[in-house]
């Protein structure tokens, strides 16, 4: 199809009609999710197999459209394929299933039972996403087009109403009206801080200096969070459209999208979206013939967590190491290259087009008093349905984890939910009826963060979780300010000690003192919020710290050396798997007879536990005096 350069809003409307007509015909569409997770599980091979199968079907006069889409949400069950009409969702599709899908489902109209969703709890099978609880309990606004449009096709985006909001803004609204509409919506920044978006835009617009810049922060560095990646991979044009609208409101001729280095597919899709928007006259000079000019460029990060911080990100864009600066003067006044700069997160920008199209009042009708709209979360960890979910603000964490997420697998007990990444905290099970809301999560000692929701079960040691985050923060601290550079290192050392069974009385108090210093003295939010993992775990799981320190025992059986392994004689079949794996020959026994484990030789590496298929290795509290101190080592640090 030749590229059409749109020179006025009427051109856009015409393109929409054309594209919509093409997709509305009665053709059968097979949509294959091609995001990072599904591709990791072989979606590209599935795609090739469909190409071949569809080619063969075409010879028989069957017309089937194959469509590339992105994240449908149920990441762990990929590759995911949706067949329309019929709205049938197939999961874990392999290339060898493809011929059968075409013959049985497309030609024969029969649903393949073996490929549809099975409820992990009830075993009930469901073919349509509209009946799967994982989907029915969500409210998808930002993700509404995921799975329906090809992220690499601007026509697809236009067909579902894309760039409509932009046309409306450029022809019917003044910049002040745009900001007012966003203000009415109550939109707050989705990157973590929750700062009111309209206030940021207004300050930037009012700031002295020229040119003004806008930035999309796609440096999603929180480990365990992948919402922004999924949005950029699934619907990059929504982000670009939001940015153009923002640039118009603020009066900016130049925008930047800063994407993490670890997200190559997101970089490719956003780059293509920018190029396509340019070719269609939706970026560049004289957008839609209205006289508004904007260029957007994409920058890849180079691997630094701190670059998610606004001033560090700007330093990085200027070609420097990503070191933050003190923000006595806000970046909306003095930002990139010393000019007024408005930085918003991917999800924030992606919310803007819908707010303009459907109105701020509509958006404000969703959510809670202080937090409007929806929030996208990446739900992961010890949970049945891992994936990308979007819920209205105000839904409780329990509804998300147990309702949408389907609860905890393997009959384990839910222990805590971690939100906000390394800057957030762990919320214990008894507080999970808290609604998702910027302010309420903050009150619990955590924060919304960018939206990672990590579920932890009884096998997760909360001291080790704190240690993990502090190890992360110590490595990622840029080293500019002493409080963060030295504070995270000291906290990490203490936590390493506790997890190795060498904790001392007073260590927890010392940790809390260091938390206070970081909160008071660190330069940027990476440092001040580094206290949160320790604060929240000591607040809700103090008992675990005490058991590590006093009893040299890890009640979650997670910290190596702080619990023992024993062979459960009744369960042991004498298969020899553990015996073979044991690196110190601590296990002995004859074939087909229960084996024995010599505690005096055991180094507690857990190789036997991992090797056993019969649950015949138990993790127990060590008997007094049985800790082989030489064996106590902390791994992975």
């Amino acid at each position: 199809m030749s590229v059409e350069h749109l020179t006025c809003p009427e051109d856009l409307a015409r393109l929409r009609l054309q594209s919509a007509r093409q997709t509305a015909e009665d053709t059968v569409t097979i949509a294959v999710c091609m995001d990072t997770c599904c591709c990791a599980k072989g979606a590209e091979d599935v795609w090739s197999a469909f190409e071949t199968a569809i080619g063969i079907a075409a010879e028989r006069g069957l017309h089937i459209e194959l469509k590339r889409t992105a994240c449908h949400g149920l990441c762990e069950r990929g590759p995911l394929v949706i067949i329309a009409p019929g709205d049938i969702l197939y999961q874990n599709v392999k290339p060898e299933n493809v011929t059968q899908i075409v013959e049985e489902t497309v030609v024969g109209g029969r649903v393949l039972e073996s490929l549809i969703y099975e409820d992990p709890e009830t075993g009930k099978k469901t073919a349509s996403p509209s009946e799967i609880p994982f989907y029915t309990k969500q409210m998808r606004l930002v993700l509404r087009h995921n799975g329906a449009i090809d992220p690499e096709s601007i026509d697809d985006y236009v067909a579902v109403g894309g760039y409509d909001a932009l046309a409306k803004v450029l022809t019917e609204m003044t910049p002040e009206q745009v900001i007012a509409e966003v203000e009415t919506s109550g939109l707050r920044g989705r990157g973590g801080g929750g700062f009111p978006t309209a206030r940021k835009w207004r300050s930037c617009r009012a700031a002295e200096g020229s040119p003004r810049y806008i930035i999309c922060n796609g440096d999603e560095g929180d480990p365990g969070a992948f919402m922004d990646r999924s949005i950029m991979e699934a619907n990059p044009h929504a982000v670009i459209e939001g940015m153009i609208i923002g640039a118009y409101a603020i009066g900016s001729p130049q925008g930047f999208v800063y994407v993490r280095n670890e997200y190559p597919l997101a970089v490719r899709r956003v780059r293509k979206a920018i190029e396509d928007a340019h070719e269609h006259g939706l970026l560049g000079d004289n957008i839609l013939g209205t006289g508004f000019d904007l260029d957007i460029t994409i920058n890849r990060g180079a691997g630094a967590f701190v670059c998610g911080e606004s001033t560090a990100l700007m330093a990085s864009l200027e070609g420097h190491p990503g070191e933050p600066r003190a923000k006595y003067v806000h970046t909306v006044e003095v930002g990139l290259h010393g000019k007024p700069t408005c930085l918003n997160n991917v999800e924030t920008w992606a919310n803007v087009p819908a707010i303009i199209s459907r109105g701020g009042k509509w958006f404000a009708s969703i959510g809670t008093e202080g937090s409007k709209g929806t929030k996208v979360f990446s739900l992961a960890g010890k949970i049945r349905n891992t994936g990308l979910v979007e819920v209205p603000m105000g839904m409780t964490l329990r509804e998300i984890v147990c309702g949408i997420g389907g609860g905890i697998p393997d009959g384990k007990r839910l222990k805590a939910v971690q939100t906000g990444g390394p800057s957030g905290g762990c919320i214990p099970e008894h507080l999970l009826d808290t609604p998702v809301d910027f302010d309420q999560l903050y009150d619990l000692g955590s924060m919304m963060g960018s939206g990672g929701l990590i579920v932890m079960d009884e096998d997760t040691c909360m001291v080790n979780v704190a240690r993990y985050f502090l190890t992360f923060l110590r490595e990622e601290s840029c080293g500019k300010c002493t409080a963060c550079r030295e504070g995270t290192a000291q906290m990490c050392d203490i936590l390493n000690r506790i997890c190795a069974g060498e904790g001392r009385e007073g260590d927890v108090e010392l940790l809390l003192d260091l938390c206070q210093i970081l909160e008071d003295a660190a330069l940027c939010a990476l440092g001040t919020s580094a206290a949160n993992p320790v604060r929240s775990t000591t607040r809700y799981f103090r008992d675990e710290y005490d058991q590590h320190i006093r009893d040299h025992y890890c009640p979650a059986h997670d910290c190596r050396g702080l619990f023992s392994y024993e062979i459960v004689v009744e369960e042991c079949r004498g298969c020899g798997a553990c015996l073979k794996e044991c690196p110190v020959e601590a296990i002995s026994g004859e074939k087909r007879k229960p084996h024995a484990l010599d505690q005096s030789l055991c180094v507690r590496c857990g190789a036997c536990f991992d090797a056993c298929s019969f649950s015949a290795i138990a993790r127990v509290k060590p008997r007094v005096g049985s800790i082989a101190s030489a064996a106590v080592q902390v791994e992975g640090s």
Binding site: D222, P223, G322, G452, M456, V465, G636
Partner: protein, 168 residues
């Protein structure tokens, strides 16, 4: 893959990269990324050329190259084993995988084996948390990896270039 050798045109490569960004020092990070794509790492010869072309001190390039974890100043092996150390992967045992990989290859994080076959690169998070723990060799993802899978994965690449997916 390019290895240190007199015949490599560092000057020409640096000039081409610098020209692509109008010799603007603001773009030093993408330039270093481009050099790394070309050589597999940032050779000191190229960095010296680049600093001269941009009219900035070499120390400024060095500061950038050592600050960002994806930029390397030493060559990497034929195969790069990237291990996700994100929260979910960690909870599901990536540190055990790291220990196993390091023991079998006798390398530390970021290190390259003596035979130049493998580089082991732990990273913060690949954002594929639904498939944790995730290990990537070159461009091939291995998902829900267990420690017992590690020797098998390494063996495939140690033999010769071969790739296989889904060892589960």
């Amino acid at each position: 893959m390019a290895r240190a050798s007199v015949s490599i045109d560092y000057e020409g490569a640096s000039e081409a990269v610098a020209a692509a960004y109008g010799r603007d020092p603001n773009f030093v990070i993408p330039m270093l990324q481009d050099l790394q794509r070309e050589f597999g790492y940032i050779p000191s010869e190229a960095a010296i050329c680049m600093a001269r072309l941009l009219g900035i001190p070499l120390s400024q390039l060095y500061a950038v190259a050592t600050f960002y974890s994806s930029l390397r100043l030493t060559p990497c092996g034929d195969h790069v084993i990237t291990l996700c150390m994100g929260t979910v992967c960690y909870l599901k045992g990536s540190s055990k995988l790291a220990a196993r990989i390091q023991a079998s290859l006798n390398v530390g994080p970021g290190g390259t084996t003596a035979d130049g076959r493998f580089t082991f690169q732990p990273v913060n998070c690949l954002g594929a948390c639904g498939l944790a723990p995730v290990l990537v060799v070159d461009d091939t993802y291995f998902t829900e990896v267990k420690p017992i899978h590690v020797p098998d994965i390494i063996a495939r690449y140690a033999r010769k270039d071969g790739a296989a997916r889904d060892v589960r």
